[in-house]
Assembly symmetry: D2
Homo-oligomer: 133 residues x 4
C-alpha cells in the first residue's frame, strides 16, 4: 500500500489552533499527487499536461482527531473501486499511529477540453489495480 507524509505548517492552522479542515482536504489531494508520482510512476503534472484531468466528483471525509502544528500526517492511499473512467480512492491519515482522518474521494478521468469522462488508459488501469486495498 502506498504511503506518503505531509508536515503540518503554520499557515495550515485555523483560529482554533488546529489544522483547518479544508487544508486537510488539500492534504488528500497532495496525497493523490504523491500516489501518482510514487506508485503510478508518472507525476500528475505530466498526466495533466496530456489533457486528462481527474476532477473530484464526491468526497466523504471523517475527521477523527485534531491535527496540530508540527504534526506529520502519514497518509495511506488505496484504490477501492475502479470503473471505466471513475475511480474511488481511500485515504487514511494518521499522526504517530493515531488515526486523524478517513477520506474517500471519487474522481473520474476527464478530457479537460470537453470536460467529458474518458476511459482510463490501460497502462494507468494496470498500475491502479496493483494499489487495490
Amino acid at each position: 500500500m502506498f504511503t506518503t507524509s505531509i508536515l503540518v505548517r503554520f499557515g495550515d492552522l485555523d483560529g482554533a489552533g488546529i489544522a483547518f479542515y479544508p487544508n486537510l482536504v488539500r492534504f488528500v489531494n497532495e496525497a493523490f499527487e504523491d500516489f501518482f508520482a510514487g506508485h503510478v510512476g508518472r507525476p500528475f503534472h505530466e498526466i495533466h499536461g496530456s489533457g486528462i484531468g481527474f476532477p473530484t466528483v464526491k468526497l466523504e471525509m471523517e475527521f477523527l482527531s485534531p491535527v496540530r502544528y508540527g504534526d506529520t500526517v502519514e497518509i495511506k492511499v488505496a484504490v477501492e473501486h475502479l470503473g471505466r473512467s471513475a475511480l474511488r480512492l481511500r485515504y487514511e491519515g494518521a499522526v504517530a499511529g493515531r488515526p486523524v482522518f478517513l477520506a474517500r474521494n471519487t474522481t473520474a478521468a476527464v478530457d479537460m477540453k470537453a470536460f467529458k469522462p474518458v476511459a482510463l488508459p490501460d497502462w494507468l488501469r494496470e498500475r491502479l489495480e496493483l494499489a487495490r486495498g
Copy 2:
C-alpha cells in the same frame, strides 16, 4: 432559508483552470460563518471567543459542475439534524441557478480547552431550529 454568496477569486483556481475543490470546501466553511453572522445573529468569532468551537466531524460533498473564475457561488444553508451537541448542515451551491455542489457537514459544539462536546446553548438551539430545511 439562509443564503450567502461567494465570489470565485483568481487564487481559488487550480491547474485545470477551475475552482480547486479544497477551496470549495473552504467556501462551505465561509457559508457557515455567514450563517452565524446573518441568521444566528452572532458572528462566529464572538462565539469562538467564548471558548466554544465547532470542529467538523464529517463532510460529504458532491461536486456537480465545474466552478469557474468570476463565478458567484450562491450557497443555501439549512439545518438538517440537531442533536444535544451535534448538528448537521446542508449547503447547496449554485452558479446562476446551475447546481455546482451539495455538501453535508456534521459538526459538534466543543469546549475548545478540553476538546470535549458540550450541549448547544439554548439560545443557539432556538436559532438553529428556525433554519431547519
Copy 3:
C-alpha cells in the same frame, strides 16, 4: 480613490491566532481584482480571458498592526506609477481606521501565451490614470 473591504475568515488565521501574512498578500490580490471590477469597469476574469495577464513583478509590504478574526480590512487602492506595460499600485489596509498594512505591487501587462510584456491598452490606461494617487 477606490476602496474595497475584505472580511477576515477563520481559515485566514495562523498558529498565532492572527491573519497569516501570506493571506494578507492574497487580500492585496483580491483588492486588485475588486479595483478592476469596481474602478476599471471590467472584471479581471474578462481581461484575463482576452489573453492578457498581470503577473506580479515586485511586492513591498509592511505589516503595521495585527489583523484578527472577524476584522473587516478596508483597502484603498491607488495607481502610483504607470509605464508602457508596467504599473505600480499602492494598497493601504486599515481596520476601523487603524492602519494594518501598506503594500506596493509592481506588475506588468503580459501576453499570457508568450509570457512577454505588452503595452497597456489605451482604454485601460485612461481608467488607470484616473486612479492616480
Copy 4:
C-alpha cells in the same frame, strides 16, 4: 548556507496556470520553518509553543521567472541582519538553477501574549549568526 526544497502542488497554481504569488510568499514562510528545524535545530512549533512568535514586519519580494506545476523550488536561506529583537532573512528561490524569486523578510521576536518585541534569546542568536550570508 541552509537550503530547502518545496514542490509546487496543483492547488498552488492560479488562473494563469502558474504559481499564485501569495502561495510563493507562503513558500517563503515554509522555508523559514524549515530553516528553524534544519539549521537552528529546534522546530518552529516548539519555539512558538514557548510563547515567542516571529510576525513579519516587512516583506520585499521580486518574482523573476514563472514557477510552474511540478517544479521543485530550491530555496537558500541566509541571515542578512540581526538586531536586538529584529532579524532580516534573505530567501533565494530557484528551479533547476533558474532564479525564480528573491525575498527579504524582516521579522522580530515578539512575546505573543503582550505582542511586544523581546530580545532574541542567546542560544538562538548564536545559531542565527552562523547563517549570515
